[in-house]
Symmetry: C2
Subunit: 324 residues, 2 copies
Amino acid sequence: MHTLNQLEQEAVTLIEKESFLKEPLALYEPIEYGMKQGGKRIRPLLCLIAADMFSDDIEKAKSAAIAVEILHNFTLLHDDIMDQSPLRRGKETVYKKFNSNKAILSGDTMFALAYKYLLDYDKDIAKDLVEILTQASIEVCEGQAFDMEFETRNDVSIEEYINMIRLKTGILLSCALRLGAVTANCTKENLVLLDEFAQNIGIAFQIQDDILDCWSDLEVFGKVTGKDIVDNKKTFLYLKALEIGSDRQQNILKELYSSKNFESTQKEQVVKSIYEDLKIKEIAKKEMVYYHNLAIQSLEKINIDQERKENLRLFSEKLMNRNK
Amino acid sequence: MHTLNQLEQEAVTLIEKESFLKEPLALYEPIEYGMKQGGKRIRPLLCLIAADMFSDDIEKAKSAAIAVEILHNFTLLHDDIMDQSPLRRGKETVYKKFNSNKAILSGDTMFALAYKYLLDYDKDIAKDLVEILTQASIEVCEGQAFDMEFETRNDVSIEEYINMIRLKTGILLSCALRLGAVTANCTKENLVLLDEFAQNIGIAFQIQDDILDCWSDLEVFGKVTGKDIVDNKKTFLYLKALEIGSDRQQNILKELYSSKNFESTQKEQVVKSIYEDLKIKEIAKKEMVYYHNLAIQSLEKINIDQERKENLRLFSEKLMNRNK
């Protein structure tokens, strides 16, 4: 068994040392650029943690870990075109640095490359791995479609929001864990529990993201806060405030979210003061803890020695206590 | 064994009767629309022909046939965004009817759906099928990248052009044939020969396309001819004329291809008169026949009864004698 710290280093090194450069450069340069933008490499890490839980062999999980990171980066690459996001992790996004056409095509190639890494496995498990990756990809796209649909809808429920972030975030975390677990011959029962764990952690993670975007310290967070409010993003915070606010508060929120032309500092202040009046931060934290606890309950049911679950428990706690 | 006509009808019906509609509609409506635009369904047909060659069971090949048609339509969907093409087969393209973001995301989902259909197979052959689809997808993207790169280059050789159309067209035909063949337990040796057949047919098909775009009868072809010339597309015809033309002819061609602002009717007349002076049409037809013959040579080497190869031979002849 490895320590969490060892696995974190392995995940980072694994992606850093993998080269995606080849001819035609017009296709592979954007891929190399996108894959080397840094980040916490959470998905390959989860893949390695899972492999380490069910066997001591993390070597066998490495191709799957690369596959899931490629898949994740492919979704970022296409999402950034759709959202017209100029920056990611402080650097130009792929479509900004190259162009939209190259970003579309390089993204498509990355999707295929993710599958190529799964071909490193014997046919006995290759089909299971392909099935996990495929189902996850479809659900992540469905999550993104719901997210786009919600932008133009005024009647999004909290339940719908939770389902959307489960699809957009939880599913890929689950994919990462299950890919690693399958390479370590995990049982079907334990795979189901890992899936529950990851989906709930994903929801908690995304609610945490909503909180951080609204209230974190600019210096620590590393990006401008309040962006969700300026962009009229229907976060958990916004939807909860709409649910429990007075008619007057609801009307102010709806009015402020009806246009992107309001002066942003003042808009942010008004929205945040409503959130504070309604104790939205506390409610959101409670919700986050609720989903984290659900995740831990699934983890506890996994049928292996307690000590083998420690890395995943520790990982989830670090994720919940992050400030960026 | 089936007749070619029976298989053609099966291929068309197979795609027509498959529904892709489900929630979220924002994601699946563009997919259903894209998949139901008609067309000759050449790729599912090839998949069924191959299955019928090596077994009499085309039922088993049907999921693979749907997979390859989804993959093909996914590439069209993203290509149309990149080329900003408003029409395909006389109808609005997906990105025009919906929007670019939906076309990107629905395309991504189609790519995943293609794999989902391959999960219908036992793990004994699923990995082989996934490998064929994955390698083909990567090479088709590489072909598209070369095509984009050639737009801005003035030194594209005929060899490079042939390689590009092999990747863009031949590879997917090969993928279709090999998927079908694998579902019918074709040997590795025969798979290699099918691959050679399809890649060469793909090249011949594309050269035929270049000829049809330039000289076919508008009434029969169903779309405006001369579009490649107006769009400055570096086709086989153009590259061959550059190769064998006099310095004066080369200069005229380069000059006319240096801008999209020339009056199109006159531009087309001048380019076509150079093509005619240099007998480019005859040279292109000879080249087409050369690649068709290469394909037939590979077909002849396939180790099965001659009568089992008839459908594929007939198919290739119909393809070479098409006028649209």
